[in-house]
Amino acid sequence: MSKTPPSSTGLLKSLIAGVEGAVSADGLQKSTYALAHTLTRLAKVDSDGSGLGDPEVQDVIECLLQVLGFNNPGAAVAAVDGLIAMGPAAVGPLLANLDAHNYGARAWAVRALAGIGDPRGLEVLEDALATDVGPSVRRAAASGLGALRLENLAEQEREGIRLRCLEALEAGRGDGEWVVRYAVAVGFEGLALPLPPSHPHRERAVAGLRHLQQPEQEETLVVRLRAGVALKRLDNR
């Protein structure tokens, strides 16, 4: 808390007021962008995300969550960026509000959870990849399942979560949209890269990527090429 630059409290308050007072779609987009941009900047200064005072964190997150429900895609994109910059602090409120708003808000919330990479989002990401009607939500979930931050967990817990991610990604290979299968390839790569070469989960991800690289099994060229790049990178380390 003490690390917060003295000016940021007033600055964030005025930025939140700007979002809440926006009277046009364009104004909302611009003010949300300004807020998110400032958060991203503060998060860079303060990588543990604890630099803001508690009440401010709540205010900012509350404000951004509301923007997700306004049916303004430009503003929602900025709000998702802002929530990702808030990091783990945003996960609890995101999960708690998941069903409070409309479908659109839920879709944006899934994208924020995918970007934050907190393991608490696992179940939401699994469910989104398997069942969401929007390809943009499924693709975000697939790439998010390969980018969960597991380093602070016990080994046994990590293994269990990784296994669930692998199973979700394997099922996602059969998605009807190329862009989702592309994101599945990205997910496999992200999941396997930190693992040592002989790790069974790494081998399973490699098998998933080989499947996506085969013209007999994968019809879309760009997906096969992405799987090929992933395999090359995994080979090199």
Partner: protein, 277 residues
């Protein structure tokens, strides 16, 4: 310009998921046109390989009727979906029927047929397309009537078809060039796209990139799709930074990977795609 809707049309359309056999049966019957409409769409979307699919779609196309203000709209709706599906199925057998459809009074049907002929790379269609477009911006490219914003010819689809078919004859280029000066940006975009495909001249790629800065979202979306179709990789940065949905940027970048060549290299474009997921 397809694919701008995030939701799968299968969900918003009338039907449940159906089998191929059911789709063929629905197209074969003649009592319920909404069933035919869905079946024609389904066969194209699922890229049916069934030997009866193309003949049944051709029959649906032939069953179109002269367009009258009060009736027969349904009939042509089936024909339009049949034309679209025939484009997706890639069987050159369908070309003669699509060519004769280009004489239909229904410009929406001509539009669907032109796109299908482009997808089939039907060189036979080039003289007909040129003949329909040769009257230029004030002929083919003029609005049908006051109050009706549609152009006399479906110019966007026809220009795109000429580019996709790929006959880069000087006579074809001369027909396309005037549309670079059309007052509608979507037509200008289609003309630049076709000229780039036919000549490889980067001048036309730069025209498309300029349209990525257009104040209307609809124009930026069209320019994204057109840059993807031509695969001009030097457009990577402008595509990343234009204000539009990531879904469309991803489709455009897929086009850069699949239709273009470096620089930048394939991996660089793929990494830009990763950032948009």
């Amino acid at each position: 310009m397809a694919g701008t809707n995030d939701l799968d049309p299968a969900i918003s359309a009338a039907g449940e998921p159906i089998s191929e056999t059911e789709a063929l049966n629905r197209l074969r019957q003649n009592d319920d046109q909404s069933h035919q409409y869905y079946a024609a769409w389904w066969l194209g979307r699922m890229r049916s390989r069934h030997p009866e699919a193309v003949p049944l779609l051709q029959a649906a196309l032939r069953r179109r009727q002269p367009r009258e203000a009060t009736s027969c709209v349904e009939q042509n709706a089936v024909a339009r979906n049949a034309a679209r599906a025939l484009g997706k199925l890639g069987d050159p057998q369908a070309i003669p029927d699509l060519l004769s459809t280009m004489d239909d009074d229904d410009d929406g049907l001509r539009e669907a047929a032109a796109r299908a002929l482009g997808e089939l790379r039907a060189e036979e269609a080039v003289p007909l397309l040129c003949q329909r477009l040769v009257s230029g911006v004030t002929g083919a490219g003029a609005p049908q009537a006051s109050g009706n914003p549609r152009l006399r010819e479906p110019c966007e689809a026809m220009l795109e078809a000429l580019g996709d078919i790929g006959v880069s004859d000087p006579g074809v280029l001369v027909v396309i060039e005037p549309f670079l000066a059309h007052d509608r940006p979507l037509i200008r975009s289609a003309a630049a796209r076709a000229l780039f495909q036919l000549t490889g001249d980067e001048r036309w790629g730069r025209r498309l990139v300029e349209l990525l800065a257009h104040p209307q979202l609809q124009v930026r979306r069209a320019a994204l799709m057109d840059l993807g179709a031509v695969g001009w990789r030097l457009a990577l940065e402008p595509i990343r930074s234009t204000l539009a949905e990531n879904s469309l940027k991803l489709i455009a970048l897929r086009g850069l990977v699949e239709n273009g060549q470096g620089p930048p290299d394939t991996e660089t474009v793929l990494m830009a795609m990763d950032d948009l997921l």
